[in-house]
Every structure is written in structure tokens, then in C-alpha cells.
Symmetry: C2
Subunit: 231 residues, 2 copies
């Protein structure tokens, strides 16, 4: 089987993302520490995020709105405007955060781009993802960029048909078992899981260890060799 096209996830595969969400969430819990205990704040925020996902989708803007909503629920009738202002500022800081590729990403992508068509496939806010890619300096290595609202098998079929030679000749690589690995395998592609130290609960799923087109890689540095062995 010849692989022609390699799909790459962005957040937590090419650069840090979840760490930034966790740091902001810590700051949020701190802000509300006068009202209730940390575990309650975290549980309520997770509930509100889940409830809003259908309307807001993924990304910093929806996360900011969900933090504000949670704060209003927990702080009761007269929430100090300071709390809301701090949450808005935290959201803006996330959107302004500098982007730096994770270790090994530059070299791996440079090597891969000589042999395969690279396609960035990511969820999140459209404008913010475009800005992060531009800030990363990695944009020129990609033949195409697809910012999508959901990653399911039909997403991978569509993207690998449009930008490659079909899902069967493509490999997807990312840190989310639920969004990067399982639906790509379902679409008929190969898939490599590269774990990030933190995973959002929403993105967790069991590894399909016995699947013939699946690989668990310790680092993106191992991706070129795995693909070369397949081809």
C-alpha cells in the first residue's frame, strides 16, 4: 500500500493547547475560590461546557462563554464585575498566546513534506486556528489546511478525497484517540496516536491496539519511519 497523504492534527500534536486550557481553568478556580470548593467549580464547568458544545463547538471563545456562565451560576445574584472582566481577559490572553512547535515537530514535518502531501486537519475557532498556524511558521509545509467543526469518518473521507488520493492511501496522526485515530481508521486510513501529556476528558477513548492500520508512537519524531515502513 502506498501512502500519498498525511493528515496532521494541530492542537497538542504540533503545539501546546490543553496545557493552556488547564492553566486558564486553574486561574478560573482561583477566581471563584471565595464561593465554593475547587472540585465543585471544575465539575460545574465541565457540565456547562458539555451542554454548550452543540451550540458553541470547540475553541477559546466558547470556553470563555462557558466560564462566564459557570461563574454566574456559582457566584449567585451579585457577582463582582471583576470576575467577569478577569475571565474575558483570560480568554483574550489564550487567543494572544504565542505559538511554538512542540519538540521534534519542525524536523519531522520537513522530512515528511518531501515524501507526502501534508494536510492539517483541526477543530476549533476558524480565525484562531489560522492565526496559530501562521504564528507557528509551519504553514508552508502543508499542501492544504482544513478547519472542521467535527472529526468523524466522513470528515476524513471528504478531506482525503479532496486533497489526496482517498482515505485508503492516507494516514492520520494526532493526540486524540477519539477524534484523530478512531474515525480515521473507520474511514479506511492508517492512524498513528502520539500522546500529549494532558488530554481533555471529551477526547479520551481506548486504543485500538489490535487494529492492523494503527500505531502508538512515543513522539512525532517516529512518524516518518513508521510511514516509510508502510510504503
Amino acid at each position: 500500500m502506498r501512502i500519498t497523504t498525511v493528515g496532521l492534527d494541530a492542537d497538542d500534536t504540533l503545539w501546546h493547547n490543553e496545557t493552556l486550557f488547564r492553566l486558564t481553568q486553574d486561574r478560573f478556580c482561583e477566581l471563584l475560590s471565595g464561593y465554593t470548593e475547587r472540585a465543585v467549580v471544575e465539575a460545574r464547568l465541565a457540565e456547562v461546557e458539555k451542554r454548550n458544545l452543540r451550540l458553541y463547538g470547540y475553541g477559546v471563545k466558547g470556553f470563555t462563554l462557558s466560564m462566564i456562565e459557570t461563574a454566574m451560576e456559582l457566584a449567585g445574584g451579585e457577582a463582582p464585575a471583576r470576575i467577569v472582566r478577569e475571565i474575558l481577559a483570560a480568554g483574550r490572553e489564550m487567543l494572544n498566546e504565542p505559538v511554538e512547535p512542540l519538540p521534534g515537530v519542525d524536523q519531522a514535518l520537513a522530512a515528511l513534506s518531501e515524501r507526502y502531501r501534508l494536510v492539517l486537519i483541526t477543530k476549533g475557532d476558524l480565525l484562531h486556528q489560522e492565526q496559530k498556524l501562521a504564528a507557528s511558521g509551519l504553514g508552508d509545509l502543508f499542501a492544504a489546511v482544513e478547519i472542521v467543526s467535527e472529526k468523524d469518518a466522513s470528515t476524513y473521507e471528504r478531506v482525503f478525497s479532496r486533497h489526496g488520493t482517498g482515505a485508503a492511501q492516507a494516514a492520520m496522526c494526532g493526540n486524540s484517540m477519539r477524534s484523530d485515530v478512531l474515525p480515521a481508521l473507520e474511514a479506511g486510513s492508517y492512524a498513528a496516536h502520539i500522546p500529549y501529556p494532558l488530554t481533555w476528558a471529551h477526547e479520551m477513548a481506548d486504543a485500538p491496539m489490535d487494529h492492523p492500520r494503527f500505531a502508538e508512537l512515543a513522539s512525532i519524531r517516529d512518524l516518518p519511519a513508521w510511514l516509510d515502513r508502510l510504503t
Copy 2:
């Protein structure tokens, strides 16, 4: 010159949008009427929106965040949580609003889709725009959908190359002089302006009345005949 591809804007070209923003803004001014006069609220909100556009881009989520920020500025230290909750609810209602095609849209698109490749080209929140297209029932008439963070000449060049036979054989149609008409003309395409009764100040620009590839149409019902005359 043979036109092969027709680009169509979505908000306020295929369905109502600005009306909904204005209604929500009225509700927002009402909420803050105890703090300051309406003209001040409107001016401050416009300032905050403009300042945030670079970070938030277009769409309801950014608008909701900007309303909350404006309320915090105007209501001072102890804003009632009720105001924030009402703004969050207003934003969610905008996202849940039913979508209905504007008069004449169904028939015009059905006629156009028999002769041209139709491409939807729209700004805004990715997930929300996909949901509106699905709710409109118009999705099957389009050969492609491009949700973009900004509409400039390079956007139209890229989109009409990817989904058509290049910008010179394409026509763009929409209600915004600034986003739909002027950059499409700059890219070498034809462009038709179909006014909507309300226009967001940010989208206004003078009509290029003398431009040989420009037309001002009273309704989308006039679009098929204008295109047929060109071809």
C-alpha cells in the same frame, strides 16, 4: 466570457442575519437602560466589537463576548449577574434561531444550480454557519462550501480556483459591498450587489457604479437573468 461558477454570500443574502443582531442589540440597550443612555451603549458596543474583531473574528460568539465586555464597562463595579445571564441567553438564542431562506432564494438557486457550479462563501463561526446551511435546506444545491475568516481578493482567487475554473470565469453575489463585491472585482470576477435593508457599518462601502463587471440588482430573483446575459 463564459461564467462557470457562482459564489454566493450567506448571511443577509440567503437568509436574515443583521436583523437578528439588531434585535439582540436593542435588547442589550434595554438591559443597560438603567446605567446610561442608548446612544452611549451603542457607541461603546461598536467600539468594543471593532477592538475585538482581530481576536474574535465574525460571528455570534464574539458578539456575545463583546456585549458582556461592554456591559461590564458601563455597569461598573457591581453588575447584577442577571445582566450577564441575559446576554448569554440572548447569544444562545441567536445560535438557535430558525433559518428561513429570504424570498426568491429557493427558486433562484434552483435555476442557477442547473447552469452553474454554486459555491457558498461566508464568514462567521464555522459550526454555526454549517448549522444554518443545514437548517436552510439549501445545502444540496451547492457544489462546495467555504467558511472563511476574511473575504479579500486572495480569498476569491483561492476559492474560485479550487472549486471552479478561476476567478475570471466566476461571479460573486452578496449584500456587502466591502466583502462580497469589491474584493471579488479585484480578483477579476464579476460581482452583483443585492442590498439587504440593514447593513452592519463595518460592511459598508461605495458602489463601483462604473465598473464593467459590476451590477446592482434589486433582488436575487434578477441574478439568473444577469448571469445569462453575460454568458
